[in-house]
Subunit: 234 residues, 2 copies
Amino acid sequence: MADAPRSGDEERTAVVRRIPEATVARLPLYLRSLFELAAADVTTVSSERLADLCGVNAAKVRKDLSHLGSYGTRGVGYDVGVLLSQISRELGLTQDWAIAIVGLGNLGHALANYRGFGARGFRIVGLFDADPARVGELVAGIRVRHVDDLPHVAAETPIAIGIIAVPAAVAQQVADRLVEAGVVSILNFAPAIITVPERVSLRKVDLSIELQILSFYSQRRAAKGDATATEATA
Amino acid sequence: MADAPRSGDEERTAVVRRIPEATVARLPLYLRSLFELAAADVTTVSSERLADLCGVNAAKVRKDLSHLGSYGTRGVGYDVGVLLSQISRELGLTQDWAIAIVGLGNLGHALANYRGFGARGFRIVGLFDADPARVGELVAGIRVRHVDDLPHVAAETPIAIGIIAVPAAVAQQVADRLVEAGVVSILNFAPAIITVPERVSLRKVDLSIELQILSFYSQRRAAKGDATATEATA
DNA sequence: GCATGTGAATAGATTCACAGCG
DNA sequence: CGCTGTGAATCTATTCACATGC
């Protein structure tokens, strides 16, 4: 469904666990449910129970978790705390990632104020906009800087993840600037296809595409007399 | 990757074209590029060119389009206008879909003001919030109503698509209310797993999951010396 | 006994490579 | 000749079913 991660050299000293892309996309889901279980002081969970909580199939949970190693106990289940830390480590959430948001329109504001960043692993270190009227404004306690300052800021505090929340027309040039500033992961909210060097990870979130997909299934359902369900955005 | 649409009875009068889920997710992508081509007065496009514009592989484009029927001309390519209307029809964008947004925090505001709704096929017919302080407010020219009014509003103007932009803790109950009000498609922005009856289509957009996936690949890249790229959210 | 972990079976998506047609 | 349309090959993901081990 997406470009698969490619490894430069297949032969390495140790076994480089290759975690399937589909599995990676589900780990955050498991993590969230595990946090909820931990908050409720549940210490052990079966694949069945976890699967229910996440809305997936139990066999899938077991296979996914088996890619991380064997952290379950037969006849018992998985230790919630152990799984939490294994998945967190696997996802790289034990370190924290510096985030910059470019574009502070409605969406940029919403993203900047999003709770759950600081929560675990992510920290906003920069807000940028090209509109002089917005520069200097305080959003979520952070001062908005001009996008031209991106290189300066990035030189001081390296930025790991860049979030693009600008109009489609300028998305590509913002991406280019982010890449130039050393950003290695980009999350694009602009409804435009952007390209980045191969070494940079790129994901996109596109509202209108989601709506159109829903439209397709709605129509399909209306046409036949029958039900249809879809889950998404893995 | 997601639950596949299931058809209730496989045997039907005519050949019910079964369009693969992965293809459905790409059609909106093609559509966007086709609009751009049309705007630039380009009348014909090859699978190769379209693939470039969308960042996919040419064979994939051809196979995807072949699921809609044969609308290309060998040796020439596809007619932009014809493809536009075929894909629009297939996605159900020739009718327009009534949308309601529940939750008018930062994100809800951003969504309500999102340009590209009215653009094609989608029209916001209701904004709802549970906070009395927000009720009555005018957002994007529409008055916010209390979520308790949902049934009334839906009875007058049927709502096809519900967008959930409320905190995770209340996402499920909002979903339940939407379903009860007759909504058949839901787009969930809350970071929570919600369940709906099988007849209802559900997709989700989850910022923190996207970030965690990027984190995974960033860490992976840091660990090895090598590059990794991912594309997402189909 | 019971739930994990995993080979084997199945399903789905992508890519290849080329026949077929304008 | 050039590009579509598509079978066949490949790769990826899901699901089944059961041996394994606590």
